[in-house]
Amino acid sequence: MRNKNGQEEIVGFGIILIVIAVIALIFISLTLNKTGKAEVEDFESSSFLKALMEKTTSCEKNANLVAIKDLVFECGREYMCSNGEYSCDVLNETLEQSLHENWRVGSQNPIKGYSLKVNYEGDIYFNMLEGNITSEYKGSMQNYSKVNENIEIYFKVYY
């Protein structure tokens, strides 16, 4: 009977090499698998909402341009701006425009949709939704109070 020890050893060595190569491949694929940047960072929605609230509008009061956060109060009081515009119309238009300019939504975009809700004294004054609602979102909330008045703004970005 022919001695097959050498062949057996070579087969064994080959199996060891294959096992080590598979382990090395798994290791390389794990190290190359990196986490990319999130579509929307936590701080972005919050800082956007703060900046949005400070944005001045075309509505004038006492020769000053009224910021969005103050315009919500004026809209609640049904104030007419000095230049004849209705405060709620200016507010609606400014909010829509600002959101549209800063957040591009679409099925091809990383941002799938956004929503903005403005509450005045517990009543929903504005509820805007653009794009699609998904299960993953980042959101923030701002609230402002004046004497006997309170507003809350909720903003969510869906991705």
Partner: protein
Amino acid sequence: MVSNKAQIKIQQMVFMLLAVFILFVLIGLIVMSSRLSKLKNSVTELKEKEALELVSKLANSPEFSCGNSYGNQKSDCIDYDKLMALKSNINNYKDFWGVSNIEVRKMPNKDVNCTFENYPNCDAIRLINEEMLGYSVSNFVSVCYKEKEGETVSNKCDIGKLIISYEEAEL
């Protein structure tokens, strides 16, 4: 006839040892290259984290912030007029923040860089130099400035972006 069995066995053992040695060298090279790449990523991530913190700090630092210039005290508000003045003295601040460039943009951005000739009819101020090289991090801020219409000067605030660029770590 001289038996060569022992020589053959020694030869087999030498080949085996050589193959195992080469295998371990290859594995070692793979491990070292992955560790080196992780180290480079860690340094880059740390730089990004520093830049993000800097974005928050910058908007509230005296060189950038609105303070009480636009009515009440505002946070995360950048004084656009002050920024243009800072741009003219930027040589004193070039290495102050440890980043390669800082840009403040009004949104929506039409990519018109601000110079002393076209200000305020522009929407992006680049502080340190004209190029944004390397990686960048950004955050939304309020951008406020004084606007003159006829005889009246009014405070205007827009949504803006503060962008900081930093270079990848070199190893």
